[in-house]
């Protein structure tokens, strides 16, 4: 094995439309190390990585690998230099109709070097070897489209391996994975590291960052704030570096008087993901439903909102049955949903903030069918101020807001509708730390107003920090209930992964 390679990015600068996204950033990654790159959204980490992988061109600065200067003008240049990136959207990097083996060798098949004829047997053998090296049991002749999300990701990593990579960027690889799949990924990351590859690991989850990384770099506002060995840092240090201020309390929790029962769910079931759920939420109460990915939380939230059809069971709000035949009727009966897939289901990205906020309020904002521009504007400005949405004007396109501000728009559109129960499905997914706090505050305010909150999440610390009551969901059922302060993360994990009471 060659000596571990050293990647150096020096004084990298990049501006978008006059805004300095990267301001003379230095970054150094070493072969045989897992190097975590952290930062709130908009800090510049993805811009930096896109420059490294050739997706963007830097305005200034240099990139060196083992002392030799690289000129990276395109993703192909980066790949030729041994720099590979596994993006979060695995589907865009794989060809669904082609086999696993073809996908693994896609770069080689697509390039003009090499033979004109493909040696299929050799290809399958080599692909099998690469997968074996990662201790993966994926048939090489299977079509990529039939793989699970986690398997697709692993195939992409295998592709990186056969391409003789020196630097591998993993952009939030664990976000879509279950616990077990995450463990498998971590094992593979360690193997990449042992092979002398520099692994750059981007993640929002601090516990796994501290578990996996040898070195941590934190960016903020387009600058590199710190780069230090992980062993010398604590999560509090990192959060402080990311925010630029100390973090008094991660989870603001208000004490709210809990009133009568508001929402009752009885034996709700559909398919194999939701198999008879019973729960209730009271006025002013935040009830968290925690579970691993695939436990059925999203499916449950959609049933409660009439987005999918339930096979049996019923939902009562204030003692009256809720009409779950469509979202429109569930909304009329007082239920609001903040869906998991924000950009696909929550907002219309190509519309203005104002249009998004008006969407649920079209009837009250109009007279004789005509919308009142003045009423719409004051409605939107009011919510923008109230929720601290960072938008230049109500007419700004929602696509250009950060993830956290987009999420505030999704929540905001329900605030004036008179909804009584707010169902929030992973509301902090892809949201940076500062905006997370704002969202927690909004949820607290809603509880103070006497609304019922059903908070579905796979982030256990959030449930522990926010909820008055925690329900653990596993395999389509609620398997355990904890009052506030009763449970630890280990307890939640135990029941969420199928553990039972002795």
């Amino acid at each position: 094995m060659a000596a571990p390679s050293v990647l150096e990015m020096k004084r990298i600068a990049k501006a978008f439309a006059g805004v300095q996204a990267l301001d003379e950033v230095d970054f150094r990654a070493q072969g045989g190390e897992i190097h975590a790159l952290l930062g709130a959204n908009g800090a510049g980490k993805s811009t930096l990585m896109k420059i490294l992988s050739g997706a963007y061109a830097a305005d200034g600065g240099s990139i060196e690998l083992n002392g030799a200067k690289l000129s990276i003008g395109s993703p192909a240049d980066a790949k030729a230099a041994g720099i590979h990136c596994v993006y979060q959207e695995v589907d865009t990097s794989l060809v669904a109709q082609m086999t696993v083996a073809e996908n693994i060798f896609l770069d080689r098949l697509a390039s003009s070097r090499g033979d004109a004829f493909v040696k299929w047997n050799g290809l399958y053998e080599e692909a099998a070897k690469a997968l074996k090296q990662l201790e993966l049991d994926i048939p090489v002749r299977k079509r990529a489209g039939e793989l699970t999300l986690a398997e697709k990701q692993l195939v992409l990593i295998a592709r990186v391996l056969v391409e003789d990579a020196k630097v591998v960027i993993l952009d939030e690889p664990t976000a879509p994975l279950s616990m077990e799949e995450t463990e498998r990924l971590f094992a593979i990351m360690n193997r990449l590291k042992e092979a002398g590859i520099a692994v750059i690991f981007i993640s929002h989850r601090l516990p796994e960052v501290f578990r996996m990384s040898d070195r941590i770099s934190v960016m903020r506002d387009g600058r590199m704030i710190l780069t230090e060995p992980a062993s010398g840092l604590t999560p509090a240090d990192v959060i402080r570096a990311m925010l630029g201020r100390s973090f008094e309390e991660e989870y603001p929790k208000r004490s709210v008087a809990i009133g009568e029962t508001l929402l009752t769910v009885e034996d709700l079931a559909a398919g194999r993901r939701v198999r008879g759920v019973n729960l209730d939420v009271r006025r002013g109460e935040i009830v968290a439903v925690v579970g691993l990915v695939g436990a059925g939380k999203t499916e449950l939230s959609r049933l409660l909102f009439g987005a999918d059809r339930a096979e049996r069971g019923r939902v009562l709000l204030g003692g009256k049955p809720v009409d779950l035949s469509s979202p429109a009727s569930a909304i009329r009966d007082g239920i609001a949903l903040v869906p998991e897939e924000r950009r696909k289901e929550g907002i219309l990205v190509k519309e203005s903030v104002l249009h998004n906020l008006s969407l649920t309020m079209l009837r009250p904002l109009s007279r004789f069918g005509f919308l009142s521009p003045a009423a719409e504007r004051s409605h939107a400005s009011g919510l923008i101020g109230q929720l601290g949405i960072k938008a230049a004007s109500p007419y700004q396109l929602t696509a250009t807001l950060s993830g956290g501000n987009q999420q505030k728009v999704v929540i905001g559109k329900w605030l004036s509708t008179g909804a009584e129960v707010f169902v929030l499905d992973e509301p902090t997914k892809g949201v940076d730390i500062g905006a997370k706090r704002d969202i927690f505050n909004i949820i607290g305010e809603l509880a103070e107003m006497g609304k019922g909150i059903l908070y579905l999440t796979c982030e256990f610390p959030e449930a522990l920090g926010l909820a008055d009551r925690i329900l653990v969901m596993c395999d389509g059922r609620i398997v355990k209930q904890f009052a506030r302060g009763e449970a630890t993360q280990e307890d939640l994990l135990y029941y969420a992964s199928g553990g039972r009471e002795e």
């Binding site: 909102f305 979202p327 909304i331 696909k344 907002i347 219309l348 079209l362 109009s366």
Partner: protein, 328 residues
């Protein structure tokens, strides 16, 4: 710099192009820029504008109504037969074709919303069904005054003068179809800009799932959009019959392409980046001017299809270059 040029050409390209060809034709032929010729141009696009408004609405909900052209043909021959074969009163002559158009729209939306066939394929199939229907209905013949019927007798009726006035008359010196067209453009524009229902249509087209999860009844909205598309095509058909004074077979066939071209030219007008009524009107004006001017330059009618196709390609190129560039 390059971006600015692209942006500018996207926003104002169609308008500038109209200006240039207006100037060019005016200099080329002294009769071009006269009141009578300009109203002629507007009258010539009045029918296609109605069809194009319908197509615009189907595109607004992220669909596509390919059956618009054959709906025009169907409603044209229905209108004519109601007078020539059955001699029914004028209100019936006007309302029945509109109901026929609405029925085609309902068939489209049934296939798309209930059966879930993709829009393009469903309306492609319906396009052929409707086209076959209108030919079967007339046994393949065009409908004209006192036509010879299959049994050898003569048809009893003629096109009514009051009906023909709709397509050929003038009000205060302005051709009546032009007035109808302007009213329709303004009303449709106001509808989509200022009414709750218009906003619902636009939002549904923007992201159907997000709109549904915000409480919009998206299926119902899509149904209405296709019904509206059918009705607007049918209005086009009625106007066509009133204009030519007979019920021509396949009258609407060329209108589909022209209206699609108008919609896509309009896609970019003022940088809207989506189907919109004013833009569609601008698109229709652009094609109208081009064809009128080229006719004056003695370009044969059968060659104008090349120009229409060229305009569509140009409009699509501008639209898609802009869309894909924005994604990066």
């Amino acid at each position: 710099m390059k971006n600015k040029v692209l942006d500018f050409s996207f926003k104002y390209g169609a308008l500038i192009f109209i200006g240039i060809i207006l100037l060019f034709f005016s200099l080329y032929n002294e009769y071009f820029f006269t009141y009578s010729n300009l109203t002629d141009i507007l009258r010539s696009i009045s029918i296609v504008t109605f069809v194009a408004i319908g197509v615009t609405i189907s595109l607004m909900v992220d669909g596509f109504d390919l059956s618009a052209g054959s709906t025009v043909s169907l409603s044209t021959v229905v209108t004519a037969t109601l007078m020539i074969w059955y001699e029914l009163p004028l209100p019936v002559v006007i309302v029945v074709p509109l109901l026929v158009g609405a029925a085609v729209g309902l068939l489209n939306s049934f296939l798309i919303v209930k059966v879930r066939i993709p829009d393009l394929l469903a309306t492609l199939a319906v396009m052929y069904i409707v086209s076959g229907l209108h030919r079967t209905y007339t046994k393949g013949y065009s409908i004209y005054n006192n036509m010879q019927l299959a049994d050898g007798s003569k048809a009893p009726g003629k096109m009514y003068d009051s009906f023909l006035w709709i397509g050929q008359g003038k009000l205060l010196g302005v051709p009546f179809p032009v007035i109808l067209m302007l009213i329709a453009v303004i009303a449709a524009h106001l509808f989509f800009k200022y009414t709750r229902w218009g906003r619902q249509v636009i939002m549904t087209g923007g992201n159907e799932e997000a709109a549904r999860l915000s409480g919009l009844r998206v299926k119902r909205i899509r149904v209405w959009a296709y019904v509206a598309s059918g009705v607007f095509a049918a209005i086009g058909g009625v106007l066509f019959a009133a204009r030519v004074g007979s019920g021509q077979i396949d009258a609407g066939a060329p209108l589909l392409m022209e209206s699609v071209a108008a919609v896509f030219v309009g896609y970019s007008v003022f940088g809207a980046g989506r189907p919109n009524i004013v833009g569609t009107f601008v698109g229709a004006v652009l094609t109208g001017i081009l064809i009128n001017g080229l006719t004056m330059m003695n370009v044969q009618y059968y060659s104008t299809d090349i120009v229409k196709g060229g305009v569509l390609v140009l409009a699509l190129a501008v639209t898609f270059i802009h869309l894909t560039r924005r994604k990066v």
